[in-house]
């Protein structure tokens, strides 16, 4: 592990105050010895930088998918006191409410094995890639509804059912959304992109439940061995990117106005209760809601395709759960035995609330919140459940994915899109994408092994394994 970092547990490491000047609290991250081999000094520097921000509580945290980002590291979690803490777009990222959802189906592996026509049809109907536009004509009024009530708007507009909302974090929308704080430019970008997947690491996958670790939780969540599921990974598209760009600019001035010293310009921030902080939070919530509406619309298209191709009922494809992994939330947490309102930033980290939380659907309350961790293309994804230990240690947070270990430049040098596709096909995985580059960028080799990442959070106990799903078909941007 890196110099200056102390081991404090089997998979737990501390970055002491003083690692960078001005740290208010220590940094803490969860990582196995073997995953530590690919840890970049830049990521730890960023973890330490976050610890310098005003009002930070307990620790600047990072999950085992930690890697070098901008502002916060990817995998970073930090909670700030609502009274004297800050809010920063650098702790959320450009893709506000990038997240994952998992749909169940009544189908089994034998029904979909080798069905290239299914993957082709999904690739044809779900808009993907750079420059893609949605099939739905969104009026400015509809866009406002998407930003105010997110997935609820989508369900009311006919893109799903009421039960879906119970299975979304925040029930599909953040009530703090303020559409006045969203610029005309952001709105302009949002109009043509409703129901589009995007590019980069976003995907839609047909997966099979291959392993059950916790039968009672799996049953309650709605998962059974051999079952076909569909995983959707995307975010708030150009609208969210523009909200981040616009508010970074505003918050950069605010950082100076409120005399906040920051070690990295991408950590521009403002007090949570300042007009600038409130405005960013309202705009971020509106973008988050757009993302929930977006995932709901893509779910609808997917259900229609599956329903038509396999003669199954729309209602027989329930949503297991939907999580946000790039977001800031106002939450109540217990600090030194007292309830306290805090602003939790999760940048490439997933909420993992434990059993008994009022924010979990009643039928899942005794198990903890479902946590969905996507694997990289061709590797397993996992469903876990949140734990009390996460509430105690990480403000109810866990990892969000596999975490990159190879740069795109290296991937282009070492790998070929055709070979990757051929290798995946040998394993029974069909891939569709607009370009070979998109496949090389997201090859299984460029990510940490997803099972190693989830094993760390499972062993630490900040979430626990429920099921493993393996892909048989992927569509990418």
């Amino acid at each position: 592990m890196l110099e200056g970092v102390n081991r404090i547990g089997m998979h737990e490491w501390e970055v002491p105050v003083g690692y960078v000047a001005g740290m208010r609290v220590p940094g803490r991250f969860f990582l196995s010895e073997s995953l530590g081999k690919t840890l970049e000094p830049g990521a730890i520097q960023q973890l330490a930088n976050v610890a310098t921000l005003p009002g930070i509580l307990k620790n600047s945290l990072a999950m085992p998918d930690i890697h070098w980002g901008y502002g916060f590291p990817i995998g970073g979690v930090a909670a700030f006191s609502v009274d004297d803490g800050i809010i920063s777009p650098g702790g959320v990222g450009f893709d506000i409410n990038c997240g994952v959802r998992l749909l169940a189906t009544p189908l089994l592996y034998k029904d979909v094995a080798g069905r290239r026509d299914l993957i082709d049809e999904l690739f044809r109907t779900v808009p993907t890639g750079v420059g893609a536009k949605g099939a739905l004509k969104v009026s400015p009024r509809v866009l406002e509804s998407m930003m105010i009530t997110g997935a609820r708007w989508a369900v009311r507009a006919g893109y799903g059912n009421e039960r879906d909302l119970m299975r979304c974090e925040e029930e599909g929308f953040m009530k703090a959304a303020d559409i006045q704080a969203v610029s005309a430019k952001a709105k302009q970008r949002g109009i043509p992109q409703g129901g589009t997947l995007g590019s980069g690491n976003h995907f839609l996958e047909i997966q099979i439940v291959r392993e059950i670790f916790n039968p009672s939780a799996a049953k309650a969540f709605g998962l059974a061995l051999g079952q076909v599921c569909c995983m959707i990974h995307c975010g708030s598209r150009g609208l969210g990117h523009q909200v981040c760009t616009d508010h970074l600019k505003i918050l950069e001035s605010a950082t100076k106005k409120y005399h906040i010293t920051i070690p990295d310009r991408q950590l521009a921030c403002a007090p949570i209760t300042s007009p600038e902080g409130i405005s960013y939070f309202g705009a971020m919530a509106a973008a988050a809601n757009y993302a929930w509406a977006n995932r709901q619309m893509i779910s609808h298209t997917t259900r229609q395709v599956l329903s038509k191709m396999f003669s199954i009922e729309y209602e027989d494809m329930p949503l297991i759960y939907d999580v946000a992994h790039n977001v800031a939330k106002m939450e109540e947490h217990i600090m030194d035995g007292k309830r306290m309102n805090v602003c939790v930033h999760r940048k490439g980290a997933t909420r993992a609330f434990g059993p008994g939380s009022k924010d979990i659907p009643p039928e899942l309350n005794s198990f903890g919140q479902p946590v969905i961790i996507p694997g990289s293309m061709g590797t397993s994804s996992f469903v876990l459940h949140g734990t009390q230990l996460a509430m105690d240690r990480t403000f109810g947070s866990t990892c969000h994915g596999a975490g990159r270990i190879m740069s795109r430049t290296q991937a282009k040098k070492d790998l070929s899109g055709r070979e990757i596709m051929a290798n995946l096909l040998k394993e029974g995985i069909i891939v569709r994408a607009h370009s070979e580059n998109a496949i090389v960028d997201e090859a299984p080799e460029v990510y940490k092994p997803s099972d190693e990442v989830v094993n760390v959070v499972h062993e630490v106990g900040i979430s626990r394994l429920v099921a493993r799903l393996a892909p048989i078909g992927v569509i990418k941007g």
Partner: protein
């Protein structure tokens, strides 16, 4: 010094190193890098688009310029190949040339979500200017 840009290793995002003899050339070369990352190498065309930006310093001027190009490129479905840039203080005027987005010719890249300030510093060297910039993808 010749104008050039190269992608340098960055795990999560795209990091570009740009060198140019003048500040103006540095900006236009960074724009080309951004377009290549997003749309691949097949860039040309003669559509004209003008941009005017004012900021507080050169780094912000560059980030704002590129963010504006991202916005225009997305909402107007335009792909730019060249920029003629004039900088006066912290004010920029640019004339961009490009062409409409084509699914066939421009699908070789990846979407850039934003221009990061992390580590962004424009350096004046003996023979010109250089910078490293991270595009969030």
């Amino acid at each position: 010094m010749r104008m050039s840009f190269e992608e340098i290793s960055h795990t999560a995002d795209v990091k570009i190193r740009v060198r140019a003899p003048t500040l103006e050339a540095l900006f236009s070369e960074t724009l080309k890098a951004l377009m290549q990352v997003m749309y691949g190498p097949n860039l040309n065309g003669d559509s004209l688009r003008k941009i005017q930006i004012e900021s507080d310093d050169y780094e912000a001027l560059l980030a704002d310029f590129l963010s504006e190009v991202l916005f225009i490129s997305e909402v107007e479905s335009l792909v730019f190949s060249e920029a003629s840039v004039r900088i006066d203080g912290y004010s920029l005027n640019a004339e961009l040339t490009g062409e409409p987005f084509s699914l066939i010719r421009h699908s070789g890249g990846t979407e850039v979500k934003g221009i990061s300030y992390s580590g962004l510093a424009i350096k004046c060297e003996a023979k010109g200017y250089m910078l490293d910039i991270i595009f969030d993808v």
